[in-house]
């Protein structure tokens, strides 16, 4: 019996290790293999065009450079894994960086490849204004800007018409009037949510309100003391009261929030360009009724919110051939032509200057909105570290159910800054 147990034990360990344990490490003579864990795979709209670009690159460099995509579609899991790897001292050859103050800490030390010198000149000029700044810390640029997120306000004009609202509100007074009329017609005026990791829709509204109150430099102001942030909070709070939003807004996640808009129940919404395809495919009536606009103006008008969503980064290396390979790949991914391909196939807006002809009505409106904006402000989630952003949602839930004043809301968030 003991022998049987021992044998079982050995088999339990040996079979998988012999058959399945280590497959990687094909010792190709001089081919440089760059492993790229990526979540632009599977159902992501960018998956197909990006895989195509990688294949073209590999063909062009057959025998010398090979980029291997490692699929990891779960973005939260991706982030956890990246954090754990870096804390253990291992950096993937190439990876996607969601740019925010927390992840910019990766720039410390010598972990990431520094592209500052390479970007001087034509390559650097090919990026949209401000995007290189977003990935530069202490004059070092250690990531290549890739995808932009613009989050304008979406209006369902069918609902507005049904409620007797003849134009998109441009001031807060017009906005509240719109809300009352929309309510009376039996619809939800605004979509809001306090859930998820960043209270996304409400967080975007808050960013718009701060921009409208404080202007292009609103985030330079001191969050704890400047009255602008309390004023914005009061306005956001009002959007939660008196039926100005859905009953499930407190605690709602992005699925619930988006669901209200897709169902044709809500008049005002916000999301990025990636959502366009969703609306088009699943709620064509809503798609046809959607118009992209700015938030109401207060002290400032015509503002839009947007930020650098993701960038490509790479592990630092002392091997010059390897370094050159990485730079080569980065350049390939960010040529105007290749950016155009991805943008047109996926509906995304990239950080590379490209001449994009969009066939999609709403995407065209997106581009127009950005071009027409008097200024663009980062969203709260891009400006502050993840724990502050998480606290935003928590504090918002408290204020929205009347358990905290707007001043306390601001104070609670400021306390974790």
């Amino acid at each position: 019996m003991k022998k049987l147990l021992t044998v079982c034990l050995i088999i339990a360990l040996a079979v998988p290790s012999l058959v399945f344990a280590q497959g990687s490490g094909e010792a190709k003579s001089q081919e440089i293999v760059l492993k790229w864990p990526s979540f632009w795979v599977g159902a992501d709209t960018k998956a197909a065009p990006i895989t195509e670009l990688v294949n073209q690159f590999n063909e062009a460099h057959a025998g010398s450079i090979k980029v291997e995509i490692e699929e990891n579609p779960d973005t939260d899991g991706y982030r956890d894994k990246l954090n754990a790897q870096i804390a253990a001292g291992i950096v993937p050859d190439i990876f996607i960086l969601n740019v925010d103050p927390t992840t910019l800490q990766f720039f410390e030390g010598d972990l990431l490849m520094d592209f500052t010198e390479d970007l001087k000149g034509d390559w650097g000029n090919g990026f949209l204004d401000g995007t290189l700044n977003a990935v530069t810390v202490d004059k070092e640029t250690k990531a290549i800007p890739y995808e932009m997120a613009y989050t304008p306000i979406w209006y369902n004009t069918d609902i507005l018409k049904a409620a007797g609202v003849d134009k998109i509100p441009e001031t807060m007074d017009e906005f509240w009037t719109m809300c009352d009329k929309v309510k009376a017609a039996g619809y939800i005026p605004t979509v809001q949510m306090t859930g998820g990791t960043n209270a996304w829709t409400s967080m975007i509204w808050y960013s718009h309100l701060c921009a409208a109150l404080g202007g292009p430099d609103v985030w330079q102001k001191d969050f704890a003391t400047d009255p602008v942030f309390v004023q914005a909070a009061e306005l956001l709070n009002r959007m939660y009261q008196d039926g100005n939003t859905s009953k499930d807004a407190i605690g709602a996640g992005p699925g619930d929030a988006g669901g209200h808009y897709l169902a044709g129940e809500a008049a005002a919404f916000s999301n990025g360009p990636w959502y366009i395809a969703r609306v088009k495919n699943e709620a064509p009536a809503v798609y046809d009724a959607t118009e992209i606009s700015t938030a109401p103006g207060i002290n400032y008008s015509g503002a839009q919110t947007g930020y650098l969503l993701s960038a490509l980064a790479a592990a630092n290396t002392t091997d010059p051939a390897r370094r050159a390979a990485v730079v080569e790949f980065m350049k390939w991914m960010t040529t105007g032509e290749n950016a155009k391909k991805v943008s047109e196939a996926a509906g995304s807006i990239l950080a590379v200057k490209a001449d994009i002809t969009s066939t999609d009505r709403i995407q065209t409106q997106f581009f127009q909105a950005v071009a027409d904006a008097s200024f663009v402000v980062e969203t709260f989630s891009a400006k502050f570290p993840v724990d502050v952003v998480a606290e935003f949602g928590q504090a918002l839930a408290k204020m929205a159910q009347g358990k905290a004043t707007p001043e306390q809301f601001v104070a609670q968030i400021a306390s974790v800054m």
Binding site: C8, L13, P16, V41, A43, D44, G258
Partner: protein
């Protein structure tokens, strides 16, 4: 035995109460599962806007998508290998250790027992960095073997807890009789205690199997390529950065549930009812 009227009344109330109790929990248990299956046939829009109705059109395409999940057979095989091997390894290790702790007295017994049992308190989520470190140092990153070892280790506290509990119940006389008959230490284990702990082993084993089957965090952390990917990672492919294909994901979840249900029904039930036919006590 003749019962008085009041005794009969109490009996009836108790009976009704018993059936209500069972019915209530049946409801609480089955409703989620039924909802899951129904929702897996809906479209995503329906899920988000009308989560409680029946699907207007039964979306068999969700199941087609789930079945077409890239590498599904390989993922399935990987999950099976990991679950089976982990359970075997974990049970052997826990049974051996449990035997030493439950049936022998020695000075270090209490401290070691407390040390091992303290492991149930530990939030494994805190160990991401060390586990990743260990995996790379052992050069086992991205292999099924590391998952087997890690899962087996993670489940030692709970398995040991359960097996130790069951082993403690076995009367000393049975072992003493075996020793008189000439059994050695190991033979007491293999011939007397191990067989008698089968209910405990099967219970612990079922829990370990199911843990392995459903585990996601460390499967994601410690593997990267298809050769060591498990089903749970495959399911996440329906989750994009901004758009989640919830209903296809549910279809995939329903599909992956089926093997575990079979394991539970056939292995656990059959063996337990077989074993408890011959009672231990008395």
């Amino acid at each position: 035995m003749i019962k008085t009227k009041s005794q009969i009344a109490v009996d009836i109330i108790a009976k009704i109460g018993k059936w209500l109790f069972i019915a209530f929990f049946l409801l609480m248990t089955l409703v989620p599962i039924i909802w899951l299956i129904i929702t897996s046939f809906k479209s995503n829009l329906e899920y988000e806007t009308e989560p409680l109705g029946l699907p207007k059109v039964w979306q068999w395409s969700n199941y087609a998508k789930a079945l077409n999940m890239s590498g599904l057979p390989r993922l399935f095989l990987n999950s099976v290998i990991v679950a089976v091997c982990t359970t075997a390894l974990n049970l052997i290790v826990s049974a051996m250790g449990g035997f030493a702790l439950a049936r022998e007295k020695f000075k270090a017994r209490e401290p070691i027992l407390s040390l091992l049992l303290a492991g149930v308190l530990i939030p494994i989520i805190a160990f991401m960095v060390p586990y990743f470190s260990i995996a790379t140092k052992l050069k086992l990153y991205d292999s099924l073997l590391i998952l087997i070892i890690v899962y087996a280790a993670i489940n030692i506290p709970v398995s040991l807890f359960l097996i130790y509990g069951f082993m403690s119940d076995i009367p000393k006389e049975l072992e003493e009789a075996a020793v008189i008959d000439g059994c050695s230490f190991s033979q007491r284990f293999t011939r007397v205690v191990f067989p008698l702990t089968k209910p405990g082993l099967v219970t612990a084993g079922t829990l370990v199997f199911i843990y392995c089957w459903n585990e996601f965090t460390y499967a994601m952390l410690l593997t990267s390529s298809v050769k060591s990917r498990t089903l749970q990672l495959g399911i996440r492919f329906f989750k994009g950065q901004f758009v989640v294909d919830y209903t296809s994901m549910l279809a995939a979840i329903v599909l992956t549930m089926i093997p575990t249900i079979f394991v539970y029904i056939f292995l656990h039930d059959k063996i337990i009812s077989g074993m408890t036919a011959g009672a231990v006590k008395g």
